[in-house]
């Protein structure tokens, strides 16, 4: 990982179904925009999922957020820079 690039986390609330990850991640891969890390867990009994995407603070980010908001299965998108800490801790877990 490049530690000197500024990172942020996108907090995406989605409908929980088998295709939703393809829709969200496809938006990034089609634009050659790398998602550094992904965390996804179902919420509220499984109807929705919360996806956290660790991404570089690229100047294309605003366009990505707007594109994501257009997706039918995406209910909400927010910036959550503080969640970067969670990814750092998860990184520790994965190294164990």
């Amino acid at each position: 990982m490049h530690s000197n690039t500024s990172r942020t986390v996108l907090d995406v609330l989605v409908k929980n179904h088998p295709g939703v990850m393809s829709h969200v991640c496809g938006l990034f891969s089609r634009r050659a925009f790398n998602v550094e890390a992904i965390l996804c867990l179902p919420t509220d009994g499984g109807e929705e999922s919360r996806i956290w995407l660790l991404v570089n603070e690229d100047d294309r980010l605003e366009q990505m957020i707007r594109q994501m908001r257009k997706l039918q299965d995406v209910h909400d998108v927010r910036l959550r820079p503080a969640a970067e800490e969670t990814f750092a801790r998860l990184g520790q877990v994965m190294r164990e």
Binding site: G19, S22, H23, G26, E62, Q63, L71, Q72
Partner: protein, 559 residues
């Protein structure tokens, strides 16, 4: 309590949505749907000869009516064949609902016969897509598909239905509400204030109209705005019918194949009001150098189009017609004599290449003449190539003219099946399709569909025995190395069309071309008019791909 199969439910829900025509081709994985469709008394089926034809036929219906149209394909090759037409609908924002058959649920992911991942493949080329997992899910999926296809910025929706879901019985007590277009959120007053201030203080403003203006029916409002504020108007390929072609403020199309004075006026403007446009590179040229002196007011219904390729000084999210309706009362009348005079001078210095009257000596004059004969209410369809650009430049468009062209994807083969769909949706209107030999060959099998349906479609085939725009680019940018752009076999198109049961006319060697043209256009039913065109007839001027719009090759007037 209702009880029916997924297939019956699908057809009933489509009937309730008001669908009366479906284009498609049956196959193993959608046969239950076809069996149910055969029993419908309200929906007729149009059997095309290729699934891409079905997709474009649906596009033709949707483009003419503005309402969603439906096409069917089976799994695997049926689905892959139809995807080009769906991608085309996505780029031009056309509401099409594509329903594909899929292998049974238990076989999904096993590389079963005629299985492909239609859901996965259609994600990037649809506005939204569904893989139906249970028959009862159709109760909400189908109305939702119609709502999605028509709301906000329209677009295609794909529904993939496994064969066993089509056969599964669903029990339900109530029919769902019909899926309809949702109201557009209104725009911010603050943005309107800023736009009014900029418009009223601009010295050299230009109004730039795109497909969004046509889709929202804002042509009249735009005309009023242009006249009140003395704003010259330009449009994208998709926006050509927003304004009467002969209005003194109308400069026609901008970009790669614009008139010289149009691109030069854009170079000099200090404000551009971009309405329902997406800053496509064919319109803007090198976008960093587009309208270098201008502030931009951008109105669009799709938030992600605002600031996408050029940051707007004022970005207004909303329906173009509503936004302009709100702006209009606050626009101060202006004469702008200096600016209008400057543009008149540009027109004198760089006269238009567009014929003012029809004739038969050049493709452009012929197109103009067809427009004179076909009348304002005609529907004009094109394929993709030189003939398309000549039509965009020369056809006498009026706000009542239907204009169906593949703008975003540039799909050769678009013309014939789209024209059939247009004729089925508007049987009382004249449908004229300008095509080229390269384009026509890409979906020529749909001539059989046209003959079967007896549609009033007239193809004007401009035959230069080559891939014209490729040939032109090879000449200009690859030192005339014409590789794989010339057809060695001279195809006898009138003979082929006759074989498809079409009525044909040929302008080759005609003593009185105008009489031939008038007679052919007066004929009702599938008609081919064959027009030989010299391979060296160019589309001028031309901005080289990737260059700024001020760099225009050819088109000098030596009159």
């Amino acid at each position: 309590m209702f009880s029916m199969t997924g297939a019956q439910l699908t057809i009933s829900l489509l009937e309730r949505q008001g669908i009366r025509t479906i284009a498609g081709i049956p196959g193993g994985a959608n046969l239950p749907l076809y069996d149910a469709l055969s029993r419908s008394t309200r929906i007729r089926h149009v059997l095309t000869r290729h699934e891409q034809g079905a997709g474009f036929l649906a596009q033709g219906m949707a483009r003419v009516t503005g309402l969603p149209a439906v096409c069917f394909a089976t799994s695997g090759p049926g689905a892959t064949n139809i995807l080009t037409a769906i991608a085309d609908a996505k780029l031009d924002s056309i509401p099409v609902i594509c329903i594909t058959g899929q292998v049974p649920r238990a076989m999904i992911g096993t590389d079963a016969f005629q299985e492909v991942d239609t859901y996965g493949m259609s994600i990037p080329i649809t506005k939204h897509n569904f893989l139906v997992r249970e028959a009862r899910d159709l109760l909400h999926i189908i109305p939702e598909a119609f709502a999605i296809a028509t709301s906000g910025r329209p677009g295609p929706v794909l529904i993939d239905i496994p064969r066993d879901v089509q056969l599964e019985t669903a029990d339900f007590t109530h029919w769902p509400e019909i899926g309809e277009r949702e109201p557009v959120p209104s725009c911010f007053d603050g943005d309107l204030d800023a736009a009014v201030e900029m418009l009223n203080s601009a010295r050299r403003p230009i109004l730039w109209l795109g497909g969004g203006v046509v889709a929202s029916g804002a042509g009249q409002e735009m005309l009023t705005l242009a006249e009140r504020a003395s704003m010259p108007v330009t449009s994208t390929l998709m926006g050509l019918t927003a304004m009467p072609h002969d209005h003194p403020l109308n400069m026609g199309m901008l970009g790669m194949h614009a008139q010289r004075h149009t691109n030069m006026a854009l170079e000099a403007c200090d404000l551009i009001l971009a309405a329902g446009v997406r800053f496509d590179d064919r319109a803007t040229g090198k976008v960093q150098e587009f309208c270098p002196q201008a502030k931009v007011i951008h109105i669009d219904i799709d938030h992600s189009e605002l600031d996408k390729l050029r940051a707007a000084s004022v970005a207004i999210l909303g329906d173009v017609r509503e936004v302009v309706g709100a702006l209009l009362p606050r626009i101060a009348p202006a004469e702008r004599q200096e600016w209008i005079g400057y543009i008149e001078a540009l027109k004198l210095a760089f006269p238009s290449q567009v014929p003012e009257q029809g004739g038969h000596d050049t493709p452009q004059e012929l197109i103009r003449r067809v427009g004179e004969l076909a009348g304002e209410n005609a529907i004009v369809v094109t394929d993709v190539g030189k003939h398309q650009m000549w039509t965009a430049q020369s056809y006498p468009f009026m706000p009542g003219t239907g204009w169906l062209t593949s703008g975003g994807l540039g799909t050769m083969g678009f013309g014939l099946p789209t024209a059939i769909g247009a004729a089925l949706a508007a049987p009382e209107r004249k449908v004229v399709c300008f095509s080229g030999d390269g384009s026509l060959l890409m979906n020529i099998q749909e001539m059989a569909t046209a003959a079967e349906q007896g549609v009033d479609v007239t193809i004007i085939l401009m035959n230069n025995a080559c891939l014209g725009l490729v040939h032109q680019q090879q000449e200009l940018f690859f030192k005339a190395n014409y590789f794989s752009s010339i057809y060695d076999v001279s195809v006898d198109f009138p003979l082929i069309a006759t074989g498809f049961r079409w009525k044909t006319w040929d302008l080759a060697g005609a003593a009185d071309p105008d009489a031939v043209l008038s007679e052919a256009l007066a004929h009702r039913g599938p008609t081919l008019i064959h027009v030989p065109v010299d391979r060296d007839e160019k589309v001028w001027p031309m901005v080289p791909p990737g260059a700024a719009n001020r760099t225009m090759l050819g088109g000098e007037c030596h009159a």
